[in-house]
């Protein structure tokens, strides 16, 4: 790793520790929910990461369609995997939270429903890819699919306003409906989570790329051997 990469990783690490302090000690318990509210910092920040990840997937998918460079596709692929993981986090943390305050861990609230859809869509994404043998076509198809699937993200965000459900909506155009120390903790967790996402994306893209390179090399070795065979044979 280069120096700046070490720096970034360390920064995120320190940020995470600070963030724990803000989440669990510096910010106050909520009036009705009490300490349970602290799930929010993880819950909402995970949602932000998931949305960002899918945005990145869609974006780099489109870039790949226009400029056929494998790196763009590899970024899209790497990002989708992270997004799936973080959507799972949102679902789990939301369920835990819901169990505490709604007395049920799942209802068919629009926000919850659309989030679940998002999870299914990005579960299908790698499956679709893996089931197409032709690499280039797989990349194209996944790009188009990623582009269509990302429509669900604004849908989730708007679901709160369009269809009244029971899922809270505290971040509005008017600002945050909460005490300033909570806002600070929340915003800080956004920054830290996005930093973590950046690191993860970087590592994962590397991984995806190495896998591709490995396969390339394997093929090259095979073709060298085949050529050798042919010379021996004739």
């Amino acid at each position: 790793m280069k120096k700046w990469q070490w720096a970034l990783v360390s920064l995120v690490g320190v940020g995470m520790i600070v963030s724990q302090y803000l989440d669990f000690i510096a910010s106050p318990p909520e009036a009705q929910m009490g300490n349970v509210v602290r799930i929010m910092y993880f819950h909402v920040a995970s949602a932000v990461v998931a949305f960002t990840a899918f945005g990145v997937t869609a974006l780099f998918g489109i870039i790949f369609l226009i400029r056929k460079k494998w790196l763009w596709d590899q970024i899209a692929r790497g990002s989708a995997e992270i997004g799936l993981v973080y959507t799972t986090f949102v679902l789990i943390s939301g369920s835990i939270w819901g169990d505490a305050v709604w007395n049920t861990w799942w209802t068919w609230d629009p926000t919850l429903t659309t989030t679940l859809i998002l999870w299914f869509l990005y579960l299908a994404y790698p499956l679709l890819r893996a089931s197409i043998t032709d690499r280039e076509r797989a990349a194209k198809v996944a790009s188009v699919f990623g582009f269509i699937a990302v429509i669900d993200v604004p849908l989730i965000h708007q679901s709160v306003t369009w269809w009244r459900g029971i899922h809270p909506n505290v971040i509005t155009a008017q600002g945050f409906n909460m005490p300033p120390s909570m806002v600070v903790a929340l915003l800080f967790s956004f920054v830290v989570f996005l930093g973590l996402y950046a690191v993860l994306l970087w590592i994962n893209t590397q991984l995806v790329r190495d896998r591709d390179t490995l396969n390339d090399l394997r093929e090259q070795a095979r073709s060298v051997l085949a050529k050798y065979d042919e010379r021996i044979g004739s």
Binding site: L121, S131, I132, R137, V141, S143
Partner: protein
């Protein structure tokens, strides 16, 4: 002109094959009917369903049956690579998408004509239905659903898991549509006409998924 002529040729071909074998139709319909029957059986509804559940199950059924036949129809194109023959036609390749939408729409609509009355007979409890709204939402909902499905079959054409991935992609993508149609249908079943916002969602779906694939088709049509 040439586009339309090709479109008609393709739809005509689908109808001809369908008419020849009637196979797809019979199997999809029987599949749907059996589902109706089984649902009636397991839900043990002497008690009528809530109008929302009634509408919801109806749409689930339509989608399941539609999906089943979409998969099958697609097989026919893949047998001996006939779809590539269509790609050789001297028109924009999106014609394949539109032909698929039309054939499939016809197919599902005819199925609904038989399925819906039967469904209401077995599971329905609605007394005063506003028919115009009901039929309209059935039509628009089906269009949206078929369009999404046709787009996805094109996408997953070369996927070895096509058949099973279809529902996995189709249902999530169609859920907002499903929610809309179910809300509206449920309203029409009790004599209302549904909220404007839901009609808007349905209409938006129809337009979006009829236009978008046409534009994106060149990216996905290549073999």
């Amino acid at each position: 002109m040439r586009f339309l002529r090709t479109l008609f040729a393709m739809v005509g071909k689908d109808l001809r094959i369908e008419w020849r074998t009637r196979q797809l139709f019979i199997s999809s319909l029987s599949f749907a009917l059996l589902l109706v029957f089984l649902m009636g059986l397991v839900l043990e509804t002497g008690a009528a369903l809530a109008s929302f559940s009634e509408a919801g199950l109806l749409w689930l059924l339509i989608m399941m049956a539609g999906l089943f036949s979409l998969n099958r129809q697609d097989d026919k194109e893949r047998y001996e690579g006939a779809i590539y023959g269509a790609y050789l036609a001297p028109v924009d390749r999106s014609v394949v998408f539109y032909a698929r939408v039309i054939s499939h729409l016809l197919f599902v609509l005819v199925m609904e004509v038989i399925l819906v009355p039967l469904y209401s007979a077995v599971l329905g409890g609605a007394a005063q239905v506003s028919w115009a709204g009901f039929v309209l939402v059935l039509l628009l909902g089906t269009i949206g659903f078929v369009a999404v499905g046709a787009m996805l079959t094109s996408l997953s054409l070369t996927s070895s898991l096509r058949e099973i991935l279809m529902p996995l992609m189709l249902f999530p993508l169609a859920v907002p549509l499903l929610l809309g149609t179910v809300e509206v249908t449920s309203a029409t079943l009790t004599g209302g006409n549904g909220a404007v916002i839901w009609w808007a969602v349905i209409a938006a779906y129809d337009v979006l998924f009829l236009v978008l694939p046409g534009l994106l088709y060149d990216f996905i049509a290549e073999v």
